[in-house]
Symmetry: C2
Subunit: 315 residues, 2 copies
């Protein structure tokens, strides 16, 4: 199974890079192979100065070794063990403020004692919230989730709302999406709530695979729909401030980034998530009733993007 998962992820990286290159049409990925100090390594692919994407990365890694003290603590393990961790991580920062930033991560973890789990998610960070796009995006994720478990979308959408939250700004990073972690096979979970969501390992793999496969069609659609729309200098400035918030979330709050930086991960692969340029202006307040203020009003937890009222709003 481990080999199947790794093979799936390297294929997925290839497919996604090809789809992004084709949709962008202005640049190609640059590849770096690297090795991890404990064993294994990765294939980082970065993209810069495209027609649509200004900076982005599609990273694959498959790392193994003995669990460090930090990992034992983070995973609440009773003792050291050998681990295997693999995943694909993506962040895309577009040129245009009208095209949303996107992030995807899917990861798989197993220990030498036989326990294993899947994690992942996709979330969207528009510089300007386009209600129709956000509704469509959530609808696509719900469709994938619903094919596997009636409760997945609601649970994982809520999890994303809480995970991608910037406490010191009292804002969500964007319009969310889905986020899940520690998805363990039936019988391996340690509480009733987790067991209610649990499925066989094959079934979880099938769900997780579909999330990974949904990324390219979703983002290519959003690129194609929005990349040619005009924008002005005010919108570009707002994009730079929103990228500042993206940096704040990733460096100050994102548990994945923090864990990577604290455990001697490959810095350049972890921080490929940062934008090419970001701005900070002291106490910037958008004008009342501006599109920027409307966006802030949508950066809240608990918005039901699939409600009839939001679906009807459009742009």
């Amino acid at each position: 199974m481990k080999e199947n998962i790794t093979q799936f992820l390297t294929d997925l990286q290839n497919t996604i890079c090809a789809a992004i290159e084709q949709a962008d049409g202005g640049a190609t990925f640059k590849e770096d192979l690297w090795q991890h100090h404990s064993g294994g390594g990765g294939r980082t692919r970065v993209f810069a100065n495209g027609r649509v994407i200004e900076k982005g990365g599609v990273n694959f890694s498959a790392v193994h070794g003995q669990t460090s003290d930090a990992l034992v603590k983070q995973m609440k393990l009773s003792q050291k063990a050998d681990f295997f961790a693999t995943g694909v991580s993506i962040v895309m920062h577009p040129q245009s403020p009208i095209v949303p930033i996107i992030h995807m991560n899917i990861r798989y973890f197993e220990l030498s004692d036989g326990t294993c789990w899947f994690g992942g998610g996709i979330d969207l960070t528009p510089h300007y919230v386009n209600t129709a796009d956000a509704c469509w995006f959530h609808g696509e994720l719900k469709t994938v989730c619903d094919r596997h478990h009636a409760e997945y979308y609601a649970k994982f959408k809520d999890w994303a709302d809480h995970y991608f939250y910037i406490p010191h700004r009292q804002e969500t990073r964007g319009v969310g999406g889905i986020f899940f972690d520690y998805l363990k096979p039936k019988g391996q979970t340690n509480n009733t709530a987790a067991e209610a969501l649990a499925k066989t390992k094959d079934e979880i793999f099938a769900f997780w695979r579909e999330i990974g496969e949904s990324f390219a069609p979703i983002y290519v659609h959003l690129m194609q729909k929005n990349a040619a729309l005009p924008y002005d200098e005010t919108q570009k400035q707002w994009q730079m401030l929103r990228r500042g918030r993206y940096v704040e979330f990733n460096l100050a709050w994102d548990r994945g980034t923090k864990f990577g930086l604290e455990t001697n991960g490959r810095t350049e692969s972890i921080l490929m998530s940062l934008p090419p340029v970001a701005n900070w202006v002291y106490d910037y307040q958008p004008a009342a009733n501006s599109p920027e203020a409307a966006t802030l009003a949508h950066l809240k937890k608990g918005i039901d993007w699939l409600s009839d009222s939001l679906r009807g709003l459009g742009f």
Copy 2:
């Protein structure tokens, strides 16, 4: 004493703002008064788009209340108490890559059980390390330290090297300076090493005051010496990357920033430390023997900036 300390800090904020405005000549500070949720508040002064300084802040705060759970944990207190905390914090991001970024913080803390301590420091972050300036800067700090305790400079210089360190880059933030914390009056310390450095409360206050008073002459000198020097687009780009590192340190590693953001401090005052613009380029490597590579070689712990060999190097 509490009133004397607060009065000193508000006067110091005035003096420093006046000195920066005069040396800059192109802009004035904008002031925001604010209140803290637990009691007290602050006077934030920010500076933008000057001739020499692109973005900066000189913040005063004096906050009191009951220690939160986070504070009890951070301070390793045995129980809740009333606290009083006051300080001045400064960060200056200059327009020119030839002028260094500077940071100063001096703070005083006391608890209702009668314990109190002083903390603070000044550190310099040149985009390009100018050895003569770094030596001069350390010499000025040593002169102030030496007037108060023969061991202060060596101890506090080492403390700054370790505090202003970016583990995931294996770089110091800049050329350091001095950093000290939990400087308690003689008899209030809880270990022999701290007791060896301890002085009376009046004596610590006198030292700490002089550190605060040294800021304006030090930075005005560095502004005047460097602001008119020419620079090119390559140097400006490097400045943007070094500002990216400044953001990485402040958001991911700085304990003061982290504590402020996690305990519901005033976000805009805490994050005034961030630069107006910062860039990230995947895996940027300066050319061999370039001025940028020479700078990286100086971003190391343990450099003796007062050694004869360095003092003689010049720019």
